[in-house]
């Protein structure tokens, strides 16, 4: 559990980095979207989203932006995660859980290799 003082300390430490990053706006970002329609939420989309946030920030992985969308909904294949890597086609992962997210981060977002076993069959 972080106190507000800790957060401020992190902020100060990070501010220099943030300024550098803000100056390099043109660097392509990988975009990750979690489906947050009713079915996705029922299937555990929030815990998938949480794992993404925690893992990517703890591991200090740069160049990733994350969001959620109620328009992303694949019925029995929820929770769904889409990865848009710069210059690559969109990749859609289905029936994602916290463990699968960790592998998607390591293999795909960091390593650049699509995790084929989590794609729709």
């Amino acid at each position: 559990m972080k106190t507000i003082a800790d957060i401020m300390a992190i902020r100060d430490k990070k501010r220099a980095e943030m300024i550098i990053r803000d100056n390099s706006e043109s660097i392509a970002e990988t975009r990750v979207v979690v489906g947050m329609a009713t079915c996705g939420i029922d299937a555990g989309a929030l815990s998938v989203f949480n794992t993404l946030v925690d893992e990517i920030s703890m591991r200090e992985i740069k160049g990733v932006r994350i969001s959620r969308s109620a328009n992303l909904n694949l019925a029995e294949n929820n929770p769904v995660v889409e990865v848009y890597a710069p210059g690559k086609e969109k990749v859609t992962y289905v029936k994602v859980d916290a463990e699968k997210v960790k592998k998607i981060i390591s293999d795909h977002i960091v390593g650049g290799n699509v995790v084929k076993e989590y794609l729709v069959k």
């Binding site: 972080k2 939420i41 929030l46 920030s57 969001s67 959620r68």
Partner: protein, 177 residues
């Protein structure tokens, strides 16, 4: 029933889907009651659709609005009320649960609010009231506190989540949520 934070998330996702760019969320804990309200400036629901949303006609109800119907059921099953009103610009949802405070019933409110903050160009105002004590902020203030404009960056979501969690726990008097 699912926890109240997840109900709140669904209502807000509906608002964003309906092209809202401003959300006012209020979440209040009383002695024997937990309430939330969401006011948006989205497209709204036309009154005909609103009627059919809660009718028992399963054919028209098969696909849309399931989340709102579940929320209405959970509110009413607890002895509380559910209201959805159309305003001149947008929609206002009020959910009331007659329940004792517990972390399990409320769910992960900090994660829900920080997830919503990742929506670009969304102005979000959040207020948490625990037995009369208030914690509130809006997305503009939060950007200043975190020193970060881009609330969709994982680090910003992480910091926002902890900021909200810490403040809610303070009001709850050390009871973890």
């Amino acid at each position: 029933m699912k926890d109240i934070a997840l109900h709140l998330l669904e209502v807000c996702e509906n608002s964003i889907k309906a092209n809202s760019n401003s959300l006012f969320i209020s979440f209040e804990v009383f002695d024997r009651k937990i309430c939330f309200s969401v006011k948006d400036n989205g497209d709204g629901i036309d009154s005909k659709k609103l009627k059919s949303l809660f009718s028992n006609d399963l054919q028209t109800n098969k696909f849309s609005g399931r989340g709102l119907r579940l929320l209405k059921n959970d509110c009413e099953n607890s002895g509380g009320k559910f209201k959805i009103n159309l305003c001149d610009k947008g929609t206002c949802v009020n959910a009331e649960f007659i329940l004792d405070f517990s972390e399990k019933i409320i769910g992960d409110l900090p994660s829900v609010v920080s997830a919503l903050l990742t929506e670009e160009k969304l102005y979000l105002s959040f207020e948490y009231v625990f037995k009369g004590k208030v914690f509130s902020f809006n997305s503009t203030e939060l950007k200043k506190i975190l020193g970060e404009e881009k609330l969709y960056l994982p680090k910003a979501v992480f910091l926002a989540k902890n900021f909200i969690k810490e403040n809610i726990e303070k009001l709850n008097g050390g009871l973890a949520i």
